[in-house]
Symmetry: C2
Subunit: 278 residues, 2 copies
């Protein structure tokens, strides 16, 4: 095992999928760039017995490594949570129950302790909306069709490989938003106009651009040493795409140093889209 | 505004995308099924001025509605966090800094207060892996190609519309896992064998099944009153697909009442895939 002085084993334990726990744990740990950690996700710990068993596993690692593990846990079931926290050594960070207690007070309501309520289909409608959004977004990827564009909540435009597809899919997956995306291609630049099908949909349009150097790098992975991937061509396309978007009053951002989440959140903000987590 | 006695305005405020905050807030609030809430996500509050201004917005809602808002916040920057918590009324739940302090102690490290570290591209390699996984998964959706199957970490099989595509995309998006998926079709059932290209890849295979009634419902949305969508045909296909998977020693689950997150987490667990959040 890695024995750097900054090394820690990290465990993320949950009676559900542990995905929420992992997301928050990850965002907390990124605040410690010097920390070297090995992370283990342990989901579906949905009985006190499994909880104690998991605790034993974690304690064994502490014993073996001589290093105190960081243990992030989210248990919906208070009994399982108690069983785990009592049995597990390591540095405990409980990401869930610590908020539920105070909320029960504030709301004078009891919480239901349904394991995995988070990612169970507790909301049939929202779930269907999410699946429908993913279907829609896939069939409207890369300008495949103009049919049903009126149903799109967001229409992304930008040069090829500027990040439209991952952003579209993220918006659909995370927020249940129906997204279409259209590549801006040399023909559009020659005509000096947005693709035909997009007229009158300006309020739904959002543009992605990217620095030519990065674009060239990405395109070279696909088509090495092609004109398509050359820095010169990328510089041309980006400049013309940005001109086109500006002239048409399309809000856009440069995706180069942004994560998919940041791009998605910016789009939702800019277009004032109502969201709920899908 | 809705004035049910169980109604609360909910605000999710962050100096980043607020996506992590929203995920956790959502999972906490699902524990209170009687709560009726209207949620507002307020991302990118990255200055003390914006923080105070957001606080004023929230306080105005409290004043106007006479109801105490629930305020979930995640601020990486302690100064902004302080400015916000001091200025905002409502019931405050701070989802982030409350863990960073104790961790600084435990690790005897100072945290960097880089806004949005979470969803910034702090890890270029991981980010590229994620994008590559999405590209791979899209080009290997629905049995499009057998090329490069050796690169797949997961190969999903199941009858058409059993949830393979959303699950594949989620695994790629959330965990950077390269996923291929293959429909099991009548030809496979007649041959009584898995699709040709999948031989020798059993260790990567995972199956999705679904109840015939639900499948018929989903297929009817696509092709109303078709034989394809009939309950009889769906019952047949599901039974034969499950037989085929069992005979070939493919682990599978019934996706009917499971969320994409649950299916994904189960697959990762079953196939023992190493993951980090993408």
């Amino acid at each position: 095992m890695n024995k750097s002085p900054n090394w820690r084993p990290v465990f993320i334990v949950s009676d559900g999928t542990a995905i929420t726990a992992e997301t928050l744990a990850h965002s907390v740990l990124t605040q410690f760039p010097d920390l070297v950690y090995e992370q283990q996700r342990i989901p579906f710990i949905d009985s006190e017995e499994k909880a104690r068993e998991t605790a034993r596993r974690i304690n064994a690692v502490q014993l073996e490594s001589g290093v105190r593990p960081l243990v992030f846990s989210t248990f919906v079931d208070p009994a399982i949570s108690r069983a785990f926290l009592q049995a597990a050594d390591g540095f405990q960070i409980e990401l869930f129950r610590s908020f539920v207690g105070p909320l029960e007070q504030e709301l004078s309501m009891k919480s239901v302790h349904t394991v995995g309520a988070t990612h169970k289909i507790h909301d049939e409608e929202r779930y269907k909306k999410r699946i429908a959004a993913i279907d829609y977004t896939l069939t409207h990827d890369d300008g495949q069709t103009n049919r049903g564009l009126d149903q799109a909540e967001v229409i992304l435009v930008g040069v090829s490989r500027s990040g439209k597809t991952p952003t579209s899919l993220y918006l659909a997956m995370q927020f249940g938003i129906k997204v279409a995306n259209y590549p801006l291609i040399p023909e559009d630049f020659e005509r000096g106009e947005l693709p035909e099908g997009l007229r009158g949909l300006r309020h739904k349009l959002f543009g992605l651009s990217i620095t030519p150097e990065r674009l060239s790098e990405i395109r070279n992975e696909r088509r090495p040493n092609s004109f398509y991937a050359s820095v010169e061509n990328c510089r041309d396309e980006c400049r013309q795409a940005e001109d086109l978007m500006v002239r048409n009053g399309v809000s856009w951002l440069n995706s180069t140093s942004k994560s998919i989440e940041e791009i998605a959140a910016t789009i939702i903000n800019t277009l004032h889209i109502e969201t709920n987590p899908a």
